[in-house]
């Protein structure tokens, strides 16, 4: 839902500053230069919130506010005063008429956004309508952990990604970081002293810019009470120590809603390649299954008729992987895609041990597999 904010101020400068402050949020700014225009705009547009100056020509803000509050159709619209008219008595007098907040000029744009964010659920504007960020796009991850070795482990483990891992040791440093940057994901250690992790969680959630940022809790596997508490307050995911980096990477990608398909699917010349990584965990199998049908269909749609299922990095087979591979082969068949397999000696050997896989035939490399397409039309692998 796109929120409407009505700014009523005789200064065009203020109206421009208000527009500028909200430009990265999914909301529409409507302008009025005095109370009369403001009331008309409020009746016509029914804004979700009004920012109201006091000293204006034609009709001042106090009169507009009074009229607004006496109109049954408009009185529920929350109003935040944005005015140079301060002073304790003045503020109290106007507060009695009914305002949600009072901002005295001069003001910082961040303060304006933060106060408005308490009244309406401001959402950051997304870059494009549907395009998801990919795993090859840079991202900023903040790790708040008082043990430098853990930060180092995460930085080391994720160094092959384009993500920038920023480690800080205290909540103060974390707040400072968030005031200057907008992290795409935050990982907070629950071992910070005096329940600081939960305080920091609340502060990050209260900030309009980070209200929807995924926040992971980092906790020792055996500390079940802390894990339960983290789940109750709403942490997006619990990462347990010792950290399984592959799992962490998958969860981070999922939490940031990244398109990870390029990790498993690509087009090499005129051949569609599906590749399983060395450590194909249950999570990876799930990810690949999600993308499988749409990716193969996309390849067929673009005119590709050949596919290679590349298992040369895979360390071992299990039932979940076998089911995934059978599913992939069936999808290729359904869409009349020729396919072949590439595997290492371990995989070839393991395949001999399963009823469903013993007839599968493998090539040693993608080059060999691609060359095989020119020799024979029928698929070298068959599904039992």
């Amino acid at each position: 839902m796109r929120y409407k904010i009505l700014t009523v101020d005789d200064s065009k400068t203020v109206r421009i500053i208000v527009k500028k402050a909200f430009k990265s949020f999914d909301c529409e700014i409507i302008e009025a230069a005095n109370g009369v225009e403001g009331l008309a705009a409020a009746a016509k547009e029914t804004p979700d919130m009004i920012l109201l100056d006091i000293t204006m020509p034609v009709m001042d803000g106090v009169e507009m506010l009074t009229k607004l509050k006496s109109d049954p159709t408009l009185k529920a619209i929350p109003v935040i005063m944005l005015t140079a008219e301060g002073g304790r008595d003045n503020v109290l007098k106007i507060a009695k008429i009914g305002v949600r907040d009072y901002i005295v000029k001069p003001f910082k744009e961040e303060v304006l956004v933060e106060k408005c964010g308490r009244v309406i659920d401001l959402k950051p504007l997304t870059d494009g309508p549907t395009k998801a960020k990919s795993i090859f796009d840079p991202a900023t991850i903040l790790v708040v952990e008082d043990k430098p070795a853990i930060i180092q482990q995460i930085q080391e483990g994720l160094k092959h990604t384009p993500w920038k891992i920023n480690g800080v040791h205290t909540t103060g440093e974390a707040i400072d970081f968030c005031s200057k940057n907008t992290p795409d994901l935050v990982i907070i250690s629950l071992s910070l002293p005096e329940e600081a992790a939960f305080t920091l969680f609340r502060l990050i959630r209260q900030n309009v810019k980070t209200k929807y940022t995924p926040i992971f809790a980092l906790v020792v596997k055996t500390e079940l009470n802390a894990q339960q508490q983290a789940q109750q307050v709403g942490f997006s995911y619990i990462v347990t120590k010792p950290i399984e980096i592959t799992e962490l990477e998958s969860k981070v990608a999922k939490a940031m809603n990244l398109d990870t398909s390029q990790r498993y699917f690509n087009v090499d010349g005129d051949v569609f390649v599906m590749r399983l990584p060395e450590n194909t965990t249950q999570t990876v199998v799930g990810e690949v299954l999600n993308y499988l049908k749409p990716k193969i269909a996309e390849a067929v749609d673009s005119g590709i008729v050949k596919a290679v299922i590349d298992l040369h990095e895979l360390k071992g087979l299990n039932m979940a992987i076998i089911k995934l591979l059978i599913q992939a082969m069936m999808t290729c068949k359904e869409l009349a895609l020729q396919y072949t397999l590439v595997g290492n000696s371990q995989i070839v050997s393991e395949c001999k041990g399963f009823e469903d896989t013993r007839n599968w035939q493998f090539h040693d490399s993608i080059a060999d597999a691609k060359a095989s397409f020119t020799k024979a039309a029928p698929s070298p692998a068959s599904v039992a």
Partner: protein
Amino acid sequence: MPTIDQISESVFRETINRAVQDVFKTMLARTATLDTASDAANADGTPWEHPVQINGQQVVGTVGFIGDISGLIYLYLDAEFANEVASHMLSMTLPELVDAGDEVVNDAVGELTNMTVGTFKNQLADKGFPCRLTIPSILRGSNFSIEPISSATRRIYRFTVGTHNLVVDLLMKTGD
């Protein structure tokens, strides 16, 4: 009820100094320094009553306050400084400002004056002198001087903001 005579010169100076610093810091991320060497007071502490000396093209913003105390404050900015202020407040480049015309710069200086006078009078309101603001107005030109009416007291404060000067002319209506 407190009277204007109870407000000392140092209170006026501190109040205007705080207002200018607060507004310039918040809205422009600039530090304004009160120039005490040329402070607008005589050696015996009485307010300096010389007219403001201005050179070159000026943009002058003015906002009044009316209530238990009444007065006017003028903010004098040279044209270049006024353009810089508008450019920063509106996030516009100088060529964009030129295209937009003087009205845009006038509005920005008017708002800057409004905020400064507001911050000044809000502090006095909290000291027991409630008053309200008037709508800003702008003067533009060169080789002009603004003379106060005889019943007003005048205090002039000079600030340095980077390479620019800012003159604040405070005119207070005297108590009856």
